[in-house]
C-alpha cells in the first residue's frame, strides 16, 4: 500500500532537485542586459552580435585580470 506513496514522494524530491539544478544553471548562464534611458531592462539575445561582442569584451577584462589584492 505504501509503495506508490513512497514513489510519489521520491519523485517529488527528484523533481525539486532537478528544478533547483536547472535554476542554478540558468543563473550561471552568461547574459547581457541593457537598460536605456531608465526604461525597462531587456536581456539581449545571446546569439546577437552585440551580445557576443560585449561578452567577449567582458571576458577579456575579467579573465585576464590578475588575482592581485585590491589597491
Amino acid at each position: 500500500m505504501s509503495r506508490p506513496r513512497q514513489r510519489g514522494l521520491l519523485g517529488g524530491y527528484a523533481e525539486e532537485v532537478a528544478a533547483a539544478m536547472r535554476r542554478r544553471r540558468d543563473v550561471r548562464r552568461p547574459r547581457v542586459r541593457i537598460r536605456v534611458a531608465h526604461g525597462e531592462a531587456r536581456v539581449l539575445d545571446e546569439d546577437s552580435q552585440a551580445a557576443g561582442r560585449l561578452l567577449a569584451l567582458a571576458r577579456e577584462m575579467l579573465d585576464e585580470r590578475e588575482e592581485a589584492p585590491r589597491d
Binding site: I34, V36, H38, A50, D63
Partner: protein
Amino acid sequence: MIAKRHVVGVPAEGAILRPMPATAHDLALRYLLELSADIRAALLMDRDGALLAAVGSLPSGGLPERARRVVAEVESLAPGETVEVDVFATRGALFVLAEDSRVMVCTTNRTVNPGLIFYDMHAVLRDIDRAAAAEERREAAGTSK
C-alpha cells in the same frame, strides 16, 4: 603649464618625470572601490572613448583600446542616451554606465546585486559632475577678478 594627465595602471609613454599625483577622476574611482567591496576595478572614459582614469585589478595591456571598444559598443546600442549594461560572464561581471559625457565601467564577481552596483556608480558619477561644476565656478571666479 599644462600637465599631461596620468592614468593609474597605464604606463605613461615617454615619461621622464615622476607620475602626476592622482587626479579627481582617480580619486573618485578609488572612492567607488571603497563604497563596494564587490567592485574589483573601475574605469572612466569620455563619450569618445578616451580613457580618463582606471583603478584596481585590470588586464595589464591594451586598456585604452578596450575602453574605446566598450564605449563604441554602448554608443552603438543607444547613442547619447543614458545606458546601463551588465554582462555576466563565467568568472565575473562587467557593468557599464554611460551618462551625459562620461562612461564608467566596473568589474565585479558574479554574486553581486546589479541594482546596488549601478546605484554606487550613479552616485560617483554625480559626485564627479558636482566637482567639475565647482571647479568651473572657481575658475570663473578666478578669471573675473
